[in-house]
């Protein structure tokens, strides 16, 4: 017993060390979303092309909601992945043009290609607040009932697609019939 008490500080030290060591590798930049398993917030806005959109216009199947802006360099890095997804018809992608200017957004899509079904124009960032967005790029996975099921913060490249989105989509497709 006394031996155990003698070693107790050492045991506590190592337990703490392991705990704190793991903490070093936590991604503190990626905050959990409050909107997981909640319906997409209501909106009545226009697209980048000037057409009116509301929740009714969203795809009635599983889709991605990508927050982007013409000023956003990481968006350019993930852009090829969304182009591929759109070309191969793997999943519809809806854009949210976040805190941008309409003209700049149209130019950006013209220059780099447009993988989006449509892009919701959110110049003021107000819709972004309802989504809990804190900076482009972010990508939400929304199910066929319009419920947000997953959020990825920062670049969604091919490896993120493979490791995070394919399993999440497979789970959704397995759980609920499309």
């Amino acid at each position: 017993m006394t031996r155990f008490v003698f070693f107790l500080p050492v045991i506590v030290f190592f337990a703490l060390a392991v705990l704190l060591w793991q903490g070093l590798f936590l991604d503190t930049k990626a905050l959990p979303s409050m909107l997981i398993d909640k319906p997409m917030p209501e909106f009545a806005l226009t697209t980048v092309d000037g057409e009116e959109v509301t929740n009714v216009d969203l795809p009635d199947q599983i889709f991605l909601l990508n927050i982007w802006g013409s000023y956003c360099l990481p968006c350019l890095i993930e852009h090829p992945t969304f182009m591929r997804l759109a070309e191969e018809g793997e999943i519809p992608v809806v854009g949210v043009n976040y805190r941008d200017r309409q003209g700049l957004a149209v130019n950006w899509l013209g220059e780099n290609g447009n993988p989006f079904e449509f892009s919701i124009l959110d110049e003021s960032g107000r819709f972004g607040i309802d989504l809990g967005v804190y900076g482009a790029p972010e990508t939400y996975l929304v199910d066929s009932d319009g419920v947000i099921r997953y959020r990825h913060v920062s670049v969604l490249d091919e490896s993120v697609w493979r490791e995070e989105f394919i399993p999440a989509i497979a789970e959704l497709r397995g759980g609920v019939s499309l």
Partner: protein
């Protein structure tokens, strides 16, 4: 060297009393109907944390989302919402992270109670150590009858 150390320590102590918020507040041109509203705006944007920059409050952040959230706080204050309503609005969208002082909930109970728990553990540990040292002192200082006899013999033989 020790003088230098002393000055350094004094400097650190002075830093502790500084108000980091005062020097970095962003200037917005919001208009309020009353000074009370303005004070509430200042208090809220001081106490809420910028989700993008992470170690800055809303009032000190140049980040886009912080600008937008300050605008929303202003809108809600002018529309007559209470501080509780505004905090609820922020919580629904950004969660506990937005508060520098997290709300007391089941998920945050550990945050609130851990310091008290550690303090009590520390006191308990200290008390045990103190008890033990007291006990060992008592034991080493008091002599039993045969030890006392031997001591007296030794003292006698010296004389």
């Amino acid at each position: 060297m020790s003088k230098l150390n002393l000055f350094f320590c004094l400097f650190l102590v002075l830093l502790m009393f500084g108000n980091p918020r005062a020097s970095v507040a962003q200037v917005d041109t919001f208009e309020f109907q009353t000074t009370e509203q303005q004070q509430r705006f200042r208090k809220l944007s001081d106490e809420l944390r910028c989700p993008m920059c992470q170690n800055t409050n809303l009032s000190g952040s140049t980040g886009g989302v912080a600008q937008d959230l300050r605008r929303e706080i202003h809108r809600m204050i002018v529309e007559g919402l209470t501080d509780v309503d505004i905090e609820e609005f922020m919580f629904d969208r950004y969660g506990d992270f937005i508060f520098y002082k997290p709300r007391f909930r089941a998920e945050t109970a550990v945050l609130w109670f851990a310091p008290i728990l550690f303090l009590l553990l520390g006191f308990a540990g200290g008390y045990i150590v103190w008890l033990k040292s007291k006990k060992s002192v008592d034991e080493s200082e008091s002599l039993d009858a045969s030890q006392l006899n031997r001591l007296n013999d030794l003292l006698d033989s010296k004389q």
